[in-house]
Symmetry: none
Subunit: 203 residues, 2 copies
DNA sequence: CCGAATGTGAAGACCGTGTTACGGATCCTC
DNA sequence: GAGGATCCGTAACACGGTCTTCACATTCGG
């Protein structure tokens, strides 16, 4: 399993624990994104949190490494998926990595009614027939599938689908929603609901 | 947060840690299902695993309490959603409980009698049937639900629901209250009380 | 019984969204 | 490198719904 560690300088024993846990440490900027990001809050907490937000925005699961006494500080944050406390225990780390690996495996197929997204091959199927979506259409649809059932404002969609530091007009979202609806077909266009003055909701 | 512990007999400090973590320990067979099930593998492991499978089958998230040296044994199992190792740390437990609570997302539901506002989906239900509210109607009703039981002047409502820099006539509030009452129905129109010369009160 | 406050209905202004078209950027083919 | 195709972001316009305001009716309190 490929994991990325941020910030670069790792705390005592962290890399040891990772390798013992069976992980392969790679660069976060590598061609193929890692399956999991480890952010270490014990040294440079601010940089670690920034890195975590970027990873989450990129759809990568995050494990935070945090001193036990700082746990209450991150409790209500949403930029981590799991955590371990220092000193890091290699056995525990392995168990948590395995769980994330297992979860991301079945995440390479996203299904909603007769729509299937294969995130491994970047292909979409509707009622058994392939649909060709452009990159942004695919990313937007994937986000909707992964976060169905709640309303997302245009700004939230821009930051989470287009990128954390995206700076552009919010109407961009409208147009992509329209293109998605068109490709989904008249029947299924209603999957994406417009919530006036708020944003869009899928499912 | 309501949690159920299985098997009944708990290990040293487990119940203490749960209570310190802010959880309410209830019976697994209670009328209302718990938000989370805790299974303790340190004593009767077999019974604990059986209980865990039942919980998972019922759609309840499971936290396993497991001695560190037994971790490899449960690593590849799928009947748990998270785990802690013994001895149990109350702070860590609280963080993990909070995460599960946040994921189950009951936090963004506002309820008053048979009215339910889901702030995540921006939908309203009255006696089980969806109600179609416009944006301002929804915002006003949400404010009332969040601040029931006291009187609010029109100016207070304008500044807190419409926005601090709002500049318009106070009669706008009256009209929106009227429309809300109409959509709530004759029966429930009295939920919003007019306090003459002062303003309005909900509940 | 009078004045003030509130309920009610309608009309116009305003805002948000759907839709289309267009320019720039990127990639592929020849 | 030219030419074309594709994709993305933005601007412009039209439409429809929503908000606000006004006028008038009604109720309430003194």
């Amino acid at each position: 399993m490929r994991v990325a560690v941020s910030p670069g300088a790792t705390a005592d024993g962290l890399e040891d624990a990772l390798v013992l846990a069976g992980a392969e440490v790679v660069d976060a900027e590598a061609d193929e994104p890692p399956a999991c990001g480890i952010v270490d809050l014990s040294e440079e907490a601010a940089a670690a949190v920034r890195a975590a937000r970027d990873l989450v925005a990129a759809g990568i699961e995050v494990i935070a490494v945090v001193p036990a006494d700082r746990l209450p500080l991150i409790e209500n944050e949403d930029w981590w998926d799991d955590f371990v406390t220092t000193p890091v225990d290699a056995l525990e780390f392995r168990a948590r990595l395995r769980r994330i690996a297992a979860r991301s495996e079945d995440a390479d197929r996203l299904v909603y009614e007769d729509l299937v997204l294969d995130t491994a091959t970047y292909q979409a199927e509707l009622a058994g027939h392939p649909v060709d979506l452009t990159y942004m259409e695919y990313e937007l649809l994937r986000f909707f599938l992964q976060h169905r059932g709640r309303v997302w404002s245009r700004e939230q969609l821009l930051s989470r689908v287009w990128g954390y530091e995206y700076f552009g007009g919010a109407r961009t979202v409208d147009v992509h929603v329209r293109r998605l609806r068109a490709k989904l077909g008249e029947e299924r266009a209603g999957w994406i609901t417009t919530v006036r003055s708020v944003g869009y909701r899928f499912g």
